[in-house]
Structures are given as structure tokens and as C-alpha cells.
């Protein structure tokens, strides 16, 4: 059962990675791309971690997977904020329809 759930989670994660890439390629400016990428990727990695954790029965390893995800959340959020601020200060204006 957990096997199947894990597979589903991982596949979902992969799809979110794909959506992040589509966003990175198709969205019109830095800010929108940032928006697409940081959210989709963080979630995607979370899903992959969760899927793997379901396949795992060693608590220490599950903890490690969780730690990896938390780290990516923290640094992803910070980096998104840093890049956005830098881009604003650099004189790049957000895209208007």
C-alpha cells in the first residue's frame, strides 16, 4: 500500500518539476518565472522526499529526507526573495499585461 502511495507521490513530484520548467521557459519575466519555479520545485521535492520516505522503514533515513526538504524550503525561499530584490534594485520592472 505504502509502496503504491510512494510511487504516486513521486510521480506527482516529477510532474511538478515539469510544471516548474514550463513556467521557467514560458513566463514573460524574471518575477513570474521566479514565482513559478520556487513554488513548484519546493513542492515537487517535498513530494519526492515523501514518496521515498514511504518506501523507507528506517526512521533515521526518513528524518534525513525530511531535513533535506526543510533545507530546500528555507534556502529556496531566501534565494527567491534575494533574486527578486536584486532584480528590482537592478531596475527590472515587473511585467504588466
Amino acid at each position: 500500500m505504502s509502496m503504491l502511495a510512494g510511487i504516486v507521490l513521486i510521480v506527482l513530484g516529477l510532474l511538478f518539476f515539469l510544471s516548474g520548467t514550463v513556467g521557467l521557459l514560458r513566463f514573460p519575466d524574471v518575477f513570474t518565472r521566479l514565482h513559478a519555479l520556487s513554488k513548484a520545485d519546493t513542492l515537487a521535492l517535498g513530494l519526492v522526499c515523501a514518496g521515498l520516505a514511504l518506501h523507507e522503514d528506517d526512521g533515521a533515513l526518513q528524518l534525513k529526507l525530511l531535513l533535506i526538504w526543510l533545507l530546500v524550503i528555507v534556502s529556496g525561499a531566501t534565494c527567491a526573495s534575494l533574486i527578486a530584490r536584486a532584480a528590482l534594485a537592478h531596475g527590472i520592472r515587473p511585467w504588466q499585461r
Binding site: L14, V30, R33, S38, L45, I68, L71, C79, I83, I92
Partner: protein, 95 residues
């Protein structure tokens, strides 16, 4: 099962190769840095899936190191490279 993990890793790799187009197209340095970040996150996921495929625990350590260091490049870029560097963007280059 092994094949499933490997196929997943392959999918992610293909995904990131497509995203490399952003490095080539730019146009601003921030865009390039973004695809670098995507590459970092994807590498973590690839390593996790390879761990699933092979069961080598050390791969989790490698993934952990990647995750810890994910912020390094972006922070250096924002603090050291970009503020001073108009040339990093393709102003003269047609996109």
C-alpha cells in the same frame, strides 16, 4: 522498482536539460541564476531517486550537502557579482 526510480531520474534530467535553454536565452543574469537554482533542486531530487535505485546511503549525504549549499551560488551572485555588473545581462545581445 529500480527501473521506476531510474526512469524518474532520467525524466528529471531531461527536464533540466530543457530548462538549460533559459541559461542560453537569458536575458538577464537573474534568469540564468534561476535555472542554476532549478538545476540544484533537480540534482537533489535526482540523487534521492538514485538512492532509491541503488540503496547507497551515502547518496543521501550527497543530497544533503547539495541542499545545504543550494543557497551559496545565489547569495554570492546577489552580494558580489550582480550589483556591480551590468555586463552580466545581455544588453548588447539580441535575444
Amino acid at each position: 522498482m529500480t527501473v521506476f526510480y531510474l526512469a524518474g531520474a532520467l525524466f528529471l534530467l531531461a527536464n533540466v536539460v530543457v530548462a538549460l535553454a533559459r541559461v542560453l536565452r537569458g536575458p538577464t543574469a537573474a534568469d540564468r541564476m534561476l535555472s542554476g537554482e532549478l538545476m540544484g533542486t533537480t540534482a537533489v531530487a535526482v540523487l534521492l531517486l538514485l538512492y532509491g535505485a541503488t540503496g547507497i546511503e551515502a547518496l543521501l549525504d550527497v543530497a544533503l550537502v547539495f541542499a545545504i549549499l543550494a543557497a551559496m551560488a545565489v547569495v554570492t551572485f546577489v552580494r558580489r557579482t550582480w550589483p556591480e555588473d551590468p555586463a552580466a545581462d545581455d544588453e548588447g545581445e539580441s535575444r
